[in-house]
């Protein structure tokens, strides 16, 4: 697993803020997905399964998508910031979310039911659309919130004593 994570440049750069960028991009990508859910009747079915009102379902959905965006930005790291290929990454990530979340999480959280028919199609399409939007948006959102080079403390631990051995090792 660590090898796969490393494949995407696991460690964020010193000016990057993957958590914030991922949360913002995840939220921004949610409205089109909600529209698809609404058009295919998935939103009402999900609300009924979960036992929430439509508004509450949307709020919880936005929250979950914000968290999912955070995980995406942090785990996929530099690949998620690829302007050219980000949309494909986002879609692949959303596909994985659908495959796990759609099948297992919703019934466990609700009354044990799964969406079927057009609402099930709506769940699938909305997530894929969300992923594509997330992938497109993240690099642009992230660039806008990068820390500046001269931000206080950003290069604090990068001074010349780095050349010495770690003081914990003798």
């Amino acid at each position: 697993m660590s090898g796969f994570l490393a494949a995407h440049g696991y460690n964020p750069g010193p000016t990057q803020r993957p958590f914030t960028a991922g949360a913002v991009a995840g939220l921004l990508a949610t409205p089109p997905a909600i529209l698809v859910l609404h058009l295919l009747g998935s939103l009402a079915v999900e609300a009924r399964i979960l036992g929430f009102s439509l508004i509450m379902t949307i709020i919880i959905g936005c929250l979950m998508m914000g968290i999912a965006g955070t995980v995406y930005a942090r785990v996929l790291g530099r690949a998620a910031n690829d302007v050219r290929g980000g949309w494909l990454f986002g879609m692949a990530y959303a596909f994985a979310l659908w495959a796990s979340g759609g099948v297992f999480v919703l019934p466990l959280l609700g009354n044990g039911e799964l969406p079927a028919g057009p609402p099930a199609t709506g769940v699938f399409l909305s997530l894929i659309l969300w992923g594509g939007c997330l992938g497109v948006l993240l690099p642009f959102v992230h660039r806008r919130i990068h820390l500046k080079f001269d931000e206080p403390g950003i290069a604090e631990n990068l001074g010349p004593t780095l050349a010495a051995r770690d003081p914990a090792r003798r």
Binding site: A7, N81, A92, V103, L158
Partner: protein, 587 residues
């Protein structure tokens, strides 16, 4: 390791894989063999089964899109992880989507086809029964997809050396990201980086590696220069793509360099122009061609004429490494593995360097030459006379190209070796019979693999940083007694980059304090590189995280460290006015 993905190639592979699946299984259905009809499964989510045209179109499009997504996943995660034939790599990968299809996607599609809004989660709804024919079709379809994707998705970087390169001319300058002053052409210590620009061929000259293309410099050149300025870089080692510019005798395509040079002229950093970096244009063949010196001299003269403001040149980069990798290790260009070919390449490169230097001086008499070479050192593991002899010989061999261009006497052992491989005294004298420009600087590159131990079997093994740049650079200084510059270093382990940078810098300071005239330091390169972990020997697309910034141009910790180093030193006496460089400029 981050991976470069050729998105067009992955998309093509994904579409072809999906189509091959559909064609084969569709053929089986026509022959009366029932199987899994993925197009119908997908298409009838949007159209009724009797609307055939509609569901076929939607089903094909959806299947192709899913095929593209999986091909991208394959390209990032799986491609080239094992040394199998490409099609078999794809076949092995196809197990993943097949299992997901079997246990998750197919059951979900079954649910989507129900005329109900919701169903209760049971074993039957989560894992509906599937007929043996459908199971066979699903597995066969994925196998065909995997084989097709694997067969098509190969060589994600580089291009066919014989065809017109798929690289566009540099775009016109965009608005500056921040206000920039004019280029500073002072005489201070050179805090440098470089744009990695290697362009050797592999596969017997058929496939061109092009680092500027792989790192997207051609598309993002202005962003790169502005990033270098933001870090505080004063000089940039810059190698315009010889193989794209020099089309033939007297024929040049300057569209690959004009805009970039205009920016560097106006705003900096000041370029150290690297005219030949591990490759030649296809029409010139390779480094066994004795005509390259004449041809490259013509190119150097044309370049200096077009950009008369350029002061610093590296005529040929790392001649020893180039000759070794091309003619002794069998990796690049001519891909030979014999001593005579090595000597021929070394002589041809040295002749080219000398001829290019003369051509530049004819245009700009005060040009400064930074002759970069990889610092190499071999240590014998034991007192065995044969092992000692090998180490001694390799430690002489590393100097051969620099000896030729600087007119330094070649040792007796090396002369005998050259004689054994067809190079007489008159050949050596012929190359050395020239005046060495006074404004010559030795560039000494250093990486952790440059120090080697000759083991008891006579084979070199990487030693790591045992003696360090100080000791090895001193050997080069003692031999040539010329001003020096640390012209390349980096670290494959990005997390250790800042520490490595400071350690190299402390070496530089120690050598300066020992009285060696040092004019500059270089972290190479500005951005990450591609496939240098395998010496550019194959086209894998591994991103080596050695840059001051990654390939998204997001700065790495080592980039911020270098910025801090430069801020700390650039205004200090001895750095703001570098006496060693001043002496070179005054000579």
């Amino acid at each position: 390791m981050i991976r470069i993905v050729s998105l067009p190639k992955a998309a093509l592979a994904g579409v072809c894989g999906a189509l091959a699946w559909t064609a084969v299984l569709g053929g089986l259905q026509l022959l009366g063999k029932p199987s899994f009809d993925i197009v119908k499964e997908l298409g009838t989510l949007a159209f009724a089964p009797d609307e055939r045209l509609g569901w076929v179109a939607v089903g094909l499009a959806a299947h192709a899109l899913v095929g593209i997504c999986w091909a991208v996943v394959y390209a990032y995660f799986f491609w080239s992880r094992v040394n199998w034939p490409p099609a078999l790599q794809g076949l092995a990968f196809s197990v993943v989507p097949a299992m997901l299809a079997l246990f998750i996607v197919n059951p979900q599609f079954e649910l989507m086809h129900l005329h109900r809004e919701a169903v209760l989660l049971t074993w039957q709804t989560a894992l509906p029964t599937i007929s043996p024919a459908q199971l066979g079709g699903l597995l066969l379809g994925h196998a065909i997809y995997g084989l097709t994707v694997g067969a098509i998705y190969t060589r994600p970087v580089g291009y066919d050396a014989e065809r017109e390169a798929p690289v566009r001319h540099l775009s016109r300058r965009a608005a500056l990201k921040a206000p920039r002053g004019p280029r500073q052409a002072g005489g201070g210590f050179m805090f440098a980086t470089g744009i990695e620009c290697s362009y050797p061929t592999i596969e017997q000259g058929r496939w061109r590696r092009d680092q500027m293309a792989a790192t997207h410099h051609y598309a993002r050149w202005q962003e790169d220069f502005e990033l270098a300025l933001d870090i505080g870089i004063t000089h940039i080692r810059y190698g315009p793509p010889l193989h794209l510019i020099f089309k033939g005798p007297g024929s040049y395509d300057w569209g690959f360099v004009d805009e970039a040079m205009a920016f560097l002229h106006d705003h900096g950093p000041e370029p150290i122009v690297d005219l030949c970096h591990f490759g030649v244009p296809t029409w010139l063949g390779n480094f066994q061609n004795p005509e390259i010196s004449r041809a490259l001299a013509e190119y150097a003269g044309a370049f200096a004429t077009r950009f008369p403001w350029v002061r610093f040149y590296t005529p040929v980069n790392e001649m020893y490494v180039c000759a070794r990798m091309s003619a002794l290790d069998g990796t690049w260009n001519e891909q030979r593995r014999d001593e005579r070919a090595f000597a021929a390449a070394a002589f041809n490169l040295a002749r080219a360097s000398i001829a290019m230097t003369d051509a530049i001086l004819a245009v700009r008499g005060d040009a400064i030459f930074v002759n970069s070479e990889s610092s190499e050192f071999c240590q014998a593991c034991c007192p065995d006379p044969e092992i000692q002899r090998i180490a001694r010989f390799e430690n002489e061999r590393r100097f051969l190209p620099l000896d030729l261009i600087y007119g330094h006497p070649i040792s007796g052992g090396m002369r005998a070796h050259l004689r054994d491989h067809g190079f007489e005294e008159r050949d050596i004298a012929g190359v050395m019979a020239h005046e060495v420009p006074a404004r010559s600087i030795i560039g000494v590159d250093y990486y952790e693999w440059n120090e080697r131990l000759i083991d008891s079997d006579g084979r070199p093994r990487a030693l790591g940083e045992l003696f360090g740049w100080y000791v090895i650079a001193n050997q080069y200084y003692d031999r040539y007694r010329r001003p020096m510059m640390h012209t390349e270093t980096n670290r494959m382990d990005a997390s250790d980059g800042p520490r490595w940078l400071w350690r190299q810098w402390h070496n530089v300071q120690l050598l300066r304090s020992a009285g060696v005239p040092l004019v500059g330091f270089t972290w190479y390169s500005l951005t990450d590189q591609v496939d240098w972990d395998i010496g550019l020997s194959r086209t894998v697309g591994n991103v080596d995280p050695v840059g001051l910034a990654d390939l998204n141009r997001d700065i790495r910790a080592v980039g911020l460290t270098y910025r801090r180093l430069i801020e700390m030193h650039r205004d200090q006496p001895g750095y703001s006015d570098c006496p060693a460089l001043a002496r070179v400029l005054a000579s």
